[in-house]
């Protein structure tokens, strides 16, 4: 069983959904991101999704765009992202990287998978890598023992869900809405999408995009195996007067959301 499956199984044993928290690496600084991610884990986030900032984040809204831009301006590199993985994984929470495809291809597909596994990463979420282009990635992640997470969307047909879940390992990422990150609502399409995904896979299904509050997390926990929260954390860091206040706010939201996924 992969580390991810252990976490999902443990959550299930507690009759709750797993909580997955996202932040981009290098924002507000390399160490600042590590502090915030540790605060998340200490306050009940089960898994960390570490964003690799990219210059052209096509499915990110203004919040993550702004954080990514600042991380890049401050000098984040793929190497520093891997160093961040190492630091966060040491906190004990399984750590995935979420990245657009360009940085992986540039770094070298096999090399990225090998170096991420060596840094203690457990998997990668690739929102713009289509199954049709994923051949070398499937080989590289298999060789490195990494989980590879692909997304299904409300617009996905049955055929597409079958194709996507067929190459996914770890868990399936169900995009709650048609749109970019940071929209503060979960669409009515999410439960239907999870229900349509189930027959195609025995993997856990986690819902992300638009999840902001503990109430939403509690609601999603009724029908999904995982709840993914990103922009809401990033927004707290963007709005914080000082890095320390940002870290504290991230910790509070994590605790809140952790209570949410435990609400029945």
């Amino acid at each position: 069983m992969s580390k991810l499956h252990e976490v999902f199984a443990a959550a299930k044993a507690e009759n709750r959904a797993a909580l997955i928290g996202y932040l981009p690496a290098g924002f507000p600084s390399v160490d600042g991101a590590i502090d915030a991610l540790r605060a998340m884990v200490e306050n009940g986030v089960d898994m960390v999704e570490l964003g690799l900032p990219y210059s052209d984040p096509l499915i990110d809204g203004p919040t993550i765009q702004a954080a990514s831009e600042r991380a890049l301006e401050a000098g984040i590199t793929t190497k520093l992202v891997l160093a961040t993985v190492e630091a966060v994984a040491a906190s004990g929470a399984p750590t995935l990287v979420m990245t657009y495809w360009s940085p992986i291809e540039r770094y070298g597909v096999e090399r990225f998978a090998t170096d991420l596994a060596a840094a203690g990463g457990v998997g990668v979420i690739t929102p713009d890598l289509t199954p049709e282009e994923a051949g070398p990635w499937i080989d590289a992640t298999d060789a490195a023992g990494l989980d590879r997470v692909f997304l299904v969307a409300p617009s996905s047909t049955e055929e597409r869900i079958a194709v996507v879940t067929g190459i996914t390992t770890g868990f399936v990422y169900a995009a709650s809405l048609m749109g970019v990150t940071g929209v503060q609502s979960v669409s009515a399409a999410a439960p239907a999408l999870v229900a349509r995904t189930r027959p195609h896979t025995s993997l856990p299904v986690a819902v992300g995009l638009g999840v902001t509050t503990a109430a939403q997390a509690a609601d999603i926990a009724q029908y999904a195996d995982g709840v993914i929260v990103g922009s809401a954390f990033v927004r707290l860091l963007l709005d914080a007067a000082t890095p320390a206040e940002g870290v504290a706010a991230v910790g509070r939201l994590a605790a809140d959301l952790a209570a949410g996924v435990r609400r029945h």
């Binding site: 052209d56 360009s102 540039r106 289509t130 282009e133 997304l151 617009s155 996905s156």
Partner: protein, 413 residues
Amino acid sequence: MTTTESVRTTLPDALGHFGRYGGRFVPEALIVALDELDAAFRAAQVDPAFQAELTHLLTTYTGRPSPLTDCVRFGAQAGGARVLLKREDLNHTGSHKINNVLGQALLTVRMGKKRVIAETGAGQHGVATATAAALMGLECVVYMGEEDTRRQALNVARMKLLGAEVVPVTAGSRTLKDAMNEAMRDWVTNVDSTHYLIGTVAGPAPFPEMVREFQKIIGVEARAQVLELVGRLPDAVTACVGGGSNAIGIFSGFLDDPSVGLYGYEAGGDGVESGRHAATITGGSVGVLHGTRSYVLQDDDGQTVESHSISAGLDYPGVGPEHAFLADIGRAHYSAITDTEAMDAFRVLCLTEGIIPAIETAHALAGTLRLGRELGPDSVIVVNCSGRGDKDVETASRWFGVLDGERAPEGRA
């Protein structure tokens, strides 16, 4: 038409690959829309009713065929070569962009969508899209980098007069790349009601192939016209390359004529060695941008590097995947033209032929001046005159110091 088809029909493959380039690198949310577009495009290609409707518009609305103009005085500056301009600048709306837009707008109506969005750099694609949207009763939103709304203010006004909403994009370099990001985000959000009318041969499959097919008419016409006028094929065909649609359009007519050299001119900005340029094939590396694999201006981490060019329409750090393929197999040749070289050629065309070209087109003209001197006086060169320069009058006036109270920077005029 079929004699020029043999190379074309084999590419791209079923997944949109031109050799190692092309494909689809997009969020899953867009796949269904791309599949739907692909199906609509393929059905339309073999539907005589669609083809008749498009041909009717191209003839009675755009004003096709565009003429081929013998440019004797310009040719004299180009080593005495016989230079023939394919006059896409005379199309309605002033550039080649309308060819593709009318095709995609008809597809939009066929797919039952009511809203089109577009990215634009120079504003020519935005104007063409706003025009077609007005003609067909579609809602239209155009994303344009804030920097470009400033340097192409005339086209912003045109789009607004045509009823389109123009959204200035303030992210990143505030140019074409960022406008494309924003248009993609809109599309992911509104894909049910909206067609994203991409203006060049870039983006995910089927866009590179589809836009090529809608622009191919330039090359098909030009080939017949040059045979009629000169009695033989040209030695070379030249075009500027931003995303690459006007270049692919004219190259397509000549790809299977091995004696015809194909030359694409990229925007060299301050010079490729300066790092401030938009010469993607000349100065870039293989990567993924905006849904396709091609040459990209990027750093060692796969982060896109900002492009620089005096020409808003060429100021893009990517290029269509078919050009990457043609460059690799050596069928087409790509090189860079600096801002200064382009503006010099701009002026030569103004003064020798009475034609004010778009600054994008001026890059092809500069390349032609250089090429003509190499090929010599017996050569025949067809240049794709992709657009007219009305939108650039202010930029050019400032460059040459013809406006009251403004002087050209040293050495520029």
